[in-house]
Point group: C3
């Protein structure tokens, strides 16, 4: 989380371009909202059958993003997030002649777990530790997990 | 947007059926809520491993839809949207003997961009222009995109 | 619904492990919130290009869940749902050495249809019938489906 899913036609990106784009998304998310880098998931899905307005296309990139870790509380922050995203995507998509579309969804923070752990509160000391170590580190005494007993 | 994702077993649809279904979804969305046709994204995902109630199935069509462009404010409009959807899907799914399930999600309009542009307000003059041209046309002086400077 | 989507690298699960995991998810959902078993959809998506923190990985399992049928109204219920999920997932993921992450989304119940039917109210007699028969059974006089006439 955020979870970026990139639906693309065959041969839209080389392996190197995928790695580069994933890196740019990660760094932008890290800098813009200060989240640990390992929070950023980027998945590429080659999608053979894409239809826009009822017509099949092989020139379209569609990105969906589920955001969880950071609330975006003001219109200004939300507009800035989208503008920043478009800026770093442009060399990979717009400048290469693809059409594209993107939307973000916002999902509940309390229904999210990383490596079985409740992710630390935003900007907490525990989150700073996760950011510095760049991995999920236990930071509380984990209660025994008690599954529903039926 | 709306983004329709159709998860289906192997050989559920021919290329012609995919194109026809994408066209029907597009026309229904266009007529029902008056959106530009190119807003409608339909992606087909062949899904080999689908389990319903714990049993693997090769006879199930699952559709998810992310709706963004139009609010559906009343229970009547929401019920009508679902009923209309079932009606146009039936020849492609129900009448061919498949089981199926569908749900819509609603995502925030301000976290959505088409071709880098903020989509025009619903029923605005700019949206009418997009509808008539059937493509995203710049309709405002775009601010320089200023990515977060870190 | 719930719709579980499991994004995994190549060869993460055998067919037997997939069937077993889908069964465990189904039984847990059925016992924890009392829903009919056939409500539970589990799809596996082999994902070749997964990047975490900008680095490609072949050791990561990512699960997304869209929940619809049952509201989870209290923090305790929500925490218990996540803890129970981690417990039953562990033998398939954690104990086999994979990294993993999971999040749930909650989508509107009134924009959901199963086999064209409005799913019965939670804990209603009609839902009990669906649970016992383990399939969607008509339980109301279906209004003629009247698509939008344009």
């Amino acid at each position: 989380m955020p979870l970026w899913q990139i639906y693309h036609p065959e041969n839209a990106f080389t392996d190197e371009q995928k790695e580069s784009l994933a890196g740019v998304i990660t760094e932008d998310n890290h800098r813009f909202v200060g989240i640990p880098r390992f929070y950023v998931n980027v998945f590429f899905h080659e999608t053979k059958y894409m239809y826009i307005g009822g017509k099949r296309t092989t020139n379209f990139i569609r990105i969906t993003t589920d955001t969880i870790a950071r609330a975006m509380p003001t219109p200004e922050i939300r507009a800035q997030a989208m503008a920043g995203t478009e800026a770093f995507l442009a060399p990979f998509i717009k400048e290469r002649g693809f059409d594209w579309e993107i939307h973000f969804d916002e999902t509940p923070r309390d229904l999210w777990r990383v490596q079985g752990l409740i992710p630390p509160e935003s900007f907490s000391d525990a989150e700073k530790m996760w950011l510095e170590e760049n991995r999920p580190v236990p930071y509380y005494d984990v209660d025994p997990i008690v599954p529903f007993a039926g």
